[in-house]
């Protein structure tokens, strides 16, 4: 179509982005400027979810912080707690026993499976494939049950403790977990096939939001978006923390770099994680009690600093903890993966149609668990319309195009 004048339509999506980075900014505001259907400019606004966790951590004791950092992100709580606990262990010079290390990995991998299933379900919902969303959510409940058996709570596990974990498992629980994992594996394979073959999904995802290898590194992108563009970054493989040096696994890397590759990569990783969980359950070492006595843990922390990395479901998560010998940490710095992945990717939307914006956004895995609402403001008439993100993906086109496609 011939453009005679450029009309700016500010689309502002308010999205609770990233359980991954709830610490600092979550419901996030993306302001999308569009020319007709084509996105020309994107601005990111933040601060709706800033809870001041870093300051809060400086005011609470080291042990109380273990539970506070778990509440940075509900979906990745065990990896947050694990990262912080390992930083404390580095400062103290404690090493947990092998059984505890294996159990930690088990909890983190279960979390990765349910997180990847959740974001794939949300993607199915965003592109209007509601029955697939319901099916994936139904099968995700099995993993939640497994988490409940292992840690005692469905979502927030509070499973990590300095020097080990907070609960042990017995043979009965082990068998229950294996049964649940076997059932889930079957279903995950099926869903992967659906994502590979279904026309609806292929048409909406393939070649949408392509990002190249150079851009990935320039913009400090991490996790599945980086691996889907052919960059092999995986803190599990490089740092070999906990039992990741003993449990066999492959780092999945894809070359395409589009939204579809990112979603398929998540299914591949979920399958990989299920295999790891099964390996752990079958080869669980029994070298002593993995549960430390919390009454006897050291109360005093020597001065020192530690920087730990962990591979969260959404990418590399880092913690920096500094102790100055007092009962409270001097500085705790949390850098969550969505922090990089969301704020730094504003340029990827350019050139795509408005209906693709939610698809690209979800493919970064910002965990859109709830309210997604969009204000569409038409500058020519001053008319304002609020719509659901899903509506925008499906019907938004209907609302916009008649006016500008002439």
């Amino acid at each position: 179509m011939a453009i005679t004048k450029i009309i700016e339509i500010p689309y502002s999506l308010e999205i609770p982005v990233g359980p991954q980075h709830p610490a600092l900014h979550e419901p996030l505001l993306l302001k999308v400027y569009a020319d007709g259907e084509e996105v020309v400019k994107v601005e990111v606004y933040t601060g709706y979810n800033h809870r001041g966790i870093e300051k809060l951590a400086e005011r609470n004791s080291f042990y109380r912080d273990i539970f506070i950092v778990g509440r940075v992100c509900g979906i990745c709580n065990t990896v947050h707690a694990n990262c912080y606990v390992r930083a404390l262990e580095q400062i103290l010079g404690i090493e947990p026993n092998n059984r505890a290390k294996y159990l930690r990995v088990l909890a983190m991998e279960l979390e990765r499976i349910h997180s990847h299933m959740l974001i794939n379900a949300v993607m199915a919902e965003i592109i209007g494939f509601e029955s697939l969303f319901m099916n994936i959510m139904l099968d995700r409940e099995r993993i939640m049950k497994a988490k409940e058996i292992l840690t005692g709570n469905r979502v927030l596990a509070d499973y990590m403790m300095v020097g080990g974990v907070r609960r042990d498992i017995n043979d009965e629980k082990k068998n229950k977990l294996l049964k649940l994992l076997n059932k889930t594996e079957e279903r995950v394979k099926y869903y992967k096939q659906v994502f590979m073959e279904d026309d609806t999904i292929l048409k909406r995802l393939v070649d949408v939001g392509i990002i190249t290898k150079t851009d990935v590194l320039k913009y400090s992108l991490i996790g599945p978006p980086a691996r889907a563009s052919g960059v092999k970054i995986d803190a599990r493989a490089s740092d070999k923390y906990d039992a990741y040096d003993e449990v066999p696994f492959n780092v999945v890397v894809k070359k395409e770099g589009d939204s579809w590759a990112r979603m398929i990569l998540r299914w591949d990783e979920a399958l990989e994680s299920i295999n790891m969980c099964k390996y752990i359950l079958e080869n669980l070492p029994s070298d002593g009690n993995p549960v430390p006595d919390e009454k006897r843990l050291p109360r005093r922390f020597p001065p020192g600093e530690a920087f730990t990395r962990v591979e969260a479901p959404r990418g590399e998560l880092t913690y920096y903890v500094m102790s100055d010998g007092k009962p409270m940490p001097y500085r705790v710095k949390i850098r969550t993966p969505s922090f990089n992945n969301i704020i730094n990717t504003a340029n990827v939307y350019l050139g795509h149609s408005i209906a693709d914006v939610p698809v690209i956004l979800v493919s970064w895995d910002p965990c859109i668990s709830c309210m997604e609402r969009i204000t569409v403001l038409d500058l020519t008439t001053g008319e304002r319309k609020r719509m659901h993100l899903k509506e925008l993906a499906r019907g938004g086109r209907k609302w916009v195009s008649p006016r500008y496609s002439i």
């Binding site: 109380r64 273990i66 539970f67 506070i68 409940e148 005692g152 709570n153 509070d158 919390e294 009454k295």
Partner: protein
């Protein structure tokens, strides 16, 4: 996917039961050691207030035992922990640090209320009342 596969799928779906749990008519299966409501057993509590110091959410307040209840001798300061269930995050840190293992844990999760609920009545019910 070919057509015969779809037929197979339809048949299987027609014959299978719905997956919905008829809650609240039918109870769901909850692990017996799931983290639910917990309270202090005052026969064991020594009133040391360690749980109140360690609570990440500051949900536990040490309160004097009311005079109509017989305070046990092992509790010289006559204090007992009262948990604010609305603020409690059910991390069970208090249970782990308690020096006398005085906490009783349950898997009760149906706690929806219209006002703030505390653990005081549950805790005090473990103590005998003074006679006369």
């Amino acid at each position: 996917m070919g057509k015969p596969k779809i037929l197979d799928l339809i048949l299987r779906n027609l014959l299978s039961k719905p997956s919905t749990i008829e809650y609240p008519k039918k109870e769901t299966v909850i692990e017996p050691d799931a983290r639910g409501r917990h309270y202090a057993d005052l026969n064991k509590c020594i009133g040391c207030s360690l749980c109140s110091i360690e609570c990440p959410a500051d949900a536990i307040k040490m309160t004097p035992i009311p005079p109509e209840y017989e305070a046990p001798k092992r509790n010289p300061r006559k204090l007992y922990p009262v948990i604010n269930y609305l603020r409690c995050i059910y991390c069970y840190r208090c249970i782990a640090v308690c020096p006398t293992n005085a906490y009783v844990s349950t898997n009760e999760y149906r706690l929806a209320t219209t006002e703030t609920i505390y653990s005081d009545m549950l805790s005090l019910s473990t103590l005998p009342k003074k006679t006369g």
